[in-house]
Symmetry: C2
Subunit: 158 residues, 2 copies
């Protein structure tokens, strides 16, 4: 794990904690330039805060970053501090956004319970790096225990 990835996870995790403290779903994401390490944007799930069914953390990070040229996306790393955890409904929408913009590298904080659409990303040539971050796991486990109905709505289960 590089220093840049550690920083990316920290930014994403802080987004997740912010969302948790607002009563929202605690998943965060950040977008970095892989070459320079510059942060381009960050965001968190906005289902509760904006009543949004589409602003998952990665989509929110891309939205908050704003419009970029294709060449910029192609130098990026998108960080998600947690993968689909306990879910068998992987985030195909966020996977699709990565493929749409040709983002070549995705860093995932934790995937001990489910590996989501990682195979689809890899089959399209995206580098997927999985870290093992216990803080990410703990926050999400706490949230799912507290508000299972919200989590199931977010992954299209109920």
């Amino acid at each position: 794990m590089s220093l840049a990835d550690t920083h990316g996870i920290t930014v994403a995790f802080n987004q997740a904690k912010k969302s948790y403290n607002e009563g929202g779903i605690p998943i965060g994401s950040s977008l970095f330039n892989s070459r320079t390490g510059a942060q381009l944007g960050a965001g968190h799930n906005e289902r509760v805060q904006k009543a949004s069914p589409t602003l998952h953390a990665e989509i929110a990070a891309l939205e908050n970053t704003g419009r970029l040229r294709a060449a910029v996306y192609r130098e990026c790393t998108l960080v998600r501090e947690l993968d689909s955890y306990t879910s068998n409904s992987p985030c195909s929408m966020c996977t699709g956004a990565v493929l749409l913009y040709g983002i070549p590298r995705v860093v995932i904080g934790e995937n001990s319970n489910f590996k989501g659409e990682e195979d689809l990303l890899r089959s399209r040539g995206v580098e997927v790096v999985v870290l093992d971050n216990p803080e990410c796991t703990e926050l999400m486990a706490r949230f799912i225990k507290e508000k299972p109905e919200l989590w199931n709505e977010d992954i299209g289960e109920t």
Copy 2:
């Protein structure tokens, strides 16, 4: 083509024309209950209007519809009045949103030039219906001729 699909395409096409008249990208979408024919929502590409890189037409339609239970999505048809036309960068993000929410049926107005992620949708059990709507084709062809740089940005090409 059912009457409901004809209506869905009309709603989506009107969204596309609205966006074109606002100086935006003319792609529209609508969401219908497949069983009752009730319209649940609609939207258009918001790249220009909201400086948004993620509000493609389908994402905008889902966002404008708001939060729904999983059981409702599973009775839906998502209509896109145009497929990826002249592009070899299919809308994988919107495909992913369909898979995330388990939307079982997608109606596409036109796909004469490229068939996008239709294979991925079908491989996951989604019914894909392709119509052949010359109005959709004509509007998009006009737009791409007028503003190629905007179109290429939207599909992550430049």
